[in-house]
Symmetry: C2
Subunit: 240 residues, 2 copies
């Protein structure tokens, strides 16, 4: 039975970049948490004004697509608590906007409290893994300078499906690719809005969108994991 | 085309009850938020010690099933951002453990930040609606002393499906009931663990469970909304 490799791509997950370290909104939120500004996650909820100010000075690009750890959090909660994952048929990978590639262990238990998830990701981006070396098997490992294309290749998937707003609205095509044999990689944006920036045409991917309206990342993740699980179950029940 | 009435039942959503008002964990979290202890949501993340202490004094029952607003939050994010809801085919209702019955407008935009969601629900439970009267159309309305059975009846659904760990593991039965005509009510627990306390046998419901392991409430919600949307789409494509 084939695995589903779920790739959250160009995810809006990063530590606060240097041009924002001295902004009052950043130093305030770092102080509240007794951390240095360079060691905290960029978060639009708290750093919106800092992001806008730096963008106006041309020191910070694409503010509307950055600083949204909540998107990765919700997508992970939906993916890792799914039946597909319980059945051992899901692998989750996080690619970030700045080309980090994060491997997520299927038995990672994601904490539901947002502030705890944020602390976990800060530790991951600082140390490259959680828990730290010597404290047990890694639940997440982060590597730098891995492009989205390199990451997708590393999964070994034989088929690639890209879901974004430039794809074709054709639900039957999704069912067909999910129920075929072999491993499949499904690429879902881990950011708020817009099409992918990376060029993925080298994979000759199936390009799809779900419905006609923009959807939240976790909504797309829910559809993919539920429909893949159903496609496998139906294939098992009716082995043509 | 039939509506899906999603009912989050016996949800772990309530204001801090009186026996806990004077506990240090409660007064500390109320003070941090500049509110009175009676006006804040019970939250296991912050009030765990208060819940345990009151339970030991027999002033507080079932601590393992209470104080989990995060469950309702995640279930609402999954349900309201779904394609089924975008298509106008979903109604969401929240029944709480203490028999409140909350109507949720399909166009409610749930805030992703947990502390904002908590503030919203505190206003709802205090005022009975949000936004308050005179400030526009209600997005949520809460009524007291509505039993789960009364609430389910009020939806007008002609079929009732109960999903809990005492149900039958039979996925094809779910597909059949979701794709039949008329409105269907699906009852999902809005609490962490265990079977329902309410007796729903009067509805002659279809009793099901998904898979063999306990699932998070939002996982069940994701399966139901995705599979209902697919069942309707397939019925439309193949009108036998």
């Amino acid at each position: 039975v084939g695995l589903l490799h779920l790739v959250l791509a160009e995810s809006a997950l990063e530590l606060v970049p240097e041009p924002l370290w001295s902004h009052p909104a950043v130093s305030r939120s770092a102080k509240t948490r007794a951390k240095s500004p360079r060691d905290i996650l960029l978060d639009d909820t708290h750093h919106h004004s800092a992001m806008r100010a730096a963008a106006q000075k041309r020191q910070f690009a694409d503010p509307e697509r950055r600083g949204r750890p909540d998107i990765v959090h919700l997508a992970l909660l939906v993916a890792l608590e799914s039946r597909l994952n319980h059945e051992g048929l899901l692998r989750v990978w996080i690619h970030t906007r700045d080309d980090r590639w994060i491997e997520v262990a299927p038995d990672l238990h994601i904490q539901r409290a947002q502030h705890r998830f944020i602390g976990l990701m800060e530790n991951l981006l600082r140390d490259g893994r959680v828990p730290p070396a010597g404290k047990g098997e890694p639940l997440m490992v982060s590597r730098s300078n891995v492009t989205l294309a390199d990451g997708i290749r590393s999964t070994g998937a034989t088929r690639v499906v890209v879901l974004d707003e430039n794809g074709e609205t054709e639900d039957s095509a999704l069912e067909a690719v999910l129920s075929a044999s072999g491993d499949v990689a499904v690429i879902v944006g881990g950011y708020p809005t817009g099409p992918f920036r990376n060029d993925l045409s080298a994979f000759g991917p199936v390009r799809l969108r779900l419905g006609t309206r923009p959807l939240a990342a976790w909504t797309v993740v829910a559809e993919i994991v539920v429909r893949h699980e159903r496609a496998l179950a139906n294939r098992g029940a009716d082995p043509r």
